[in-house]
Symmetry: D5
Subunit: 119 residues, 10 copies
């Protein structure tokens, strides 16, 4: 099961500046909740850090915890967004999933969170 | 004939969040209403779900129902948009058709629906 | 000479909706008004139809009427825009010409018409 | 059903010279013999003509006759090769089918015929 | 564990002709035998069939059986080649694995089998 | 009509060396002999000169003489090869025509001449 | 030295319409003011004409006058913008220089002029 | 260690005009602060100069001073931005670092500085 | 200094079969022996193993030992080939170095070793 | 004028091995002998060294000496080949010039020298 406890952080080196970090993980894999067959895709995260940045190796391990998880694409992207918001409390964060074709049809899902009381 | 009764839905897993789903179907085919010869193209749907998401396999079968249908490109794209709005009642939806060249000339059609009383 | 009488139309299947049609014609050819040598380019038309849509085969024949016409690129693009506005009375239309290099230098011309009393 | 009677030919304009003609048809479609769903692909023909060349418009109509035919990729490519050999009696001919992915897996099939008593 | 019992075949529709079938499976995944982390790659098979062709859906299921298998790239490609030779007894077969980068370094492995007593 | 009298040559600066010259002319246009509509393509010439090289500006003018000529692709490529052989008496020459799609199908024609008594 | 006296103009064929002309010159060359070695780049000009358009052949000759000129990239782009503004009195003009790498580092410079009393 | 004393400037040739300079350095290398292994990436700087422009050769030497420096990507990009602001006092400056994949995951960091009292 | 003692091997899993392994390392860096400035490039190794295969992690560490080494491109590629031959005693091995441009000029070096008494 | 006295060499570090060096110089420029206008192109050299290798910086300066030289493409490539053979006495050398389009037509010239008494 997706396991957000694997996620680790380090202190933002410039908390006073609003800047952007993008992480691209093209080796995402999960399992189709209906057929049980593997799904594949790329997860892209763009965020403006607040006090914390995500540690990359722990993010890789977190992504691996979806490997045997049966879930719809829409659920996966929203789940990752929720986990990231809880972990990082970022000023802004956007999660995109680009999934490989099934039945000749490909799907992309994109969700955004903007912290309130921020411009 | 295009058959929207094949379309199925599932419940939006995060109805409280405004996020985007994109579906790309590069294997669209219909028939030219004038010459009776096959037409080919890619249908792209981008929508912000409300309470329902479209089930992909049923969407694939719906797309196949255009295969022996004679229709202008402009009619096809508007018809798909109407069927999707009726099915999903989405916050916003955009349908694009990119059709292969005929007589050395290629055509793209793009139509958008935005639900009223939404920002 | 360019001959707009070849252009034909059909009724817009969704006159109540503001949507976009793009036509890409990569096989445009005319003649340089100075040297008399052939020029080549791509003509791209994007428009929001009003009551009429352009019929593609007639558009192809219209494009062919430039084949032995000597004209500057700037004149060609503005002429096509004028012909389209007169024919279609569209809500909005944009014409772009992308011409192949001459003397190592390539030229693109872009012109837009927006109907008044439209948002 | 595939209908080779639609195929027409014209006389090779240089029968004394061994040269090559390549025809690329990216709008092939047939039906999966197991699921009944549409398949899509590109058919490529390369041949050295003997006394006859294939007429392109009739080839297009011939390709369309596969549209509602249920057949394995391996059968399709070999069938087209057989029909071409019978029609053209060419010095050499090669048929390639490049089919779009199914279940994340794409397939290409290639078959060659070389006329005997030719070097 | 890799499970070749999932593989199925069908009869070659033209056993008298020497032709080529290529299968491209870009969604291969296994596990690194040292770190236990997922590996990803593309498996490409090119073969000249003898009496049997490989059935694609069973091949997809066979590929999935590597998903939790810890194995070196060199072992994976040779294992698939051995399984294919045993299953198909082909005239010729080539297996290529193109694996995604690890530590900034990517690896490709290619192995070929040619049946004796064949030209 | 194609007019080979426009072609001019200059003396090969290294007649003692066997080397290759390639000329790529992507702005070829002729007329379909059946429909009377313009055809477009790229002509590629590769030759090993003997005593003469082709002068580029005259080649451009020669290519333009096909502009209002109705001819099959197969005839065009063989005609250019014949004209070049007569003009240049080259050690070897190859002419390729890559023509834009008609009815969704594109065609390439390739013809070669090798001077006898040359290795 | 750069010589703006080579530049010529012709009358804008549609002075009443605000439209855009783009000129791309990928064969720019000058000389490094420090090392004396050749520099290479592409100059891109986009402008909205007022009463005059730039004549392309004279623009090509103007570009050639930089060939033996030693100048910083920043000076070149601003100089071309100044010369164009003086020549054309345009409604708007933008000049971009994209220069090839030196010491593994490439440079682009972009400058814009907007006529006052225009929207 | 990163050594900003290597940076040199020259006078902006058009201080009265607001224009943009982009510098792309694809040969950046530093060291991972955790594993001690080399990291690689591209540094992109876009700025609107005030009174000073950066001299390219000194920028190249400055980039080289990161070669044996152990630092997080987030720290590197913010450090370069701070050094540039101090050196150039620019109207606006943006620094982007695009780093090569580690563990199958790639990272981009982007930070912007806008001078106060500027529009 | 380049340090071949870091290189490790594992036993070839199919010593009886002649197959090919390709390793692509795009993060090579050394130092110019004349200017002392960093050089960058990609090292590609293709080999037919004998009794041993190269272990990838040790190869990565070996590549890193060139990082502060001043050497000509021609020496680097031949040195790597010598080290690989000594380590692996392969049936065949080819080493290619593709180095990034210096002074606008890029260089590639390719060297091959074939074991004697092998076909 | 082209000045081969600028060319320098260094000793081949592995004279006993037959290997290949490729040099790509995309910033070649000369002058059209007829119009006096600048020509541009890429020069590619591939050679198997004998006792000497070419020094890159001197090669760059040699290439620059063509900058104000009026010469046909065919003469340029053969001249460079002659200069290289005289300088390096290589086992084998190939020179290719890829020149940018003139009048919509681009030209490539390729010449090879193989030392006698070499296999």
């Amino acid at each position: 099961m997706p396991d957000s406890t694997k996620l680790e952080t380090f202190e933002n080196p410039r908390p006073g500046r609003e800047y952007t970090i993008e992480i691209v993980a093209p080796e995402f894999s999960s399992v189709c909740p209906i057929t049980g067959q593997p799904d594949f895709g790329t997860i892209i995260i763009q965020y403006v850090p607040n006090k914390l940045c995500i540690e990359l190796k722990s993010f890789k391990l977190y992504i691996f915890t979806f490997r045997n998880e049966g879930a719809f694409y829409e659920t996966i992207v929203n789940q990752i967004l929720d986990d990231m918001v809880k972990l990082l409390n970022p000023r802004k964060i956007e999660v995109t999933g680009e999934f490989t074709p099934r039945g000749g049809i490909s799907t992309n899902v994109n969700a955004v969170y903007i912290k309130e009381n921020e411009e």
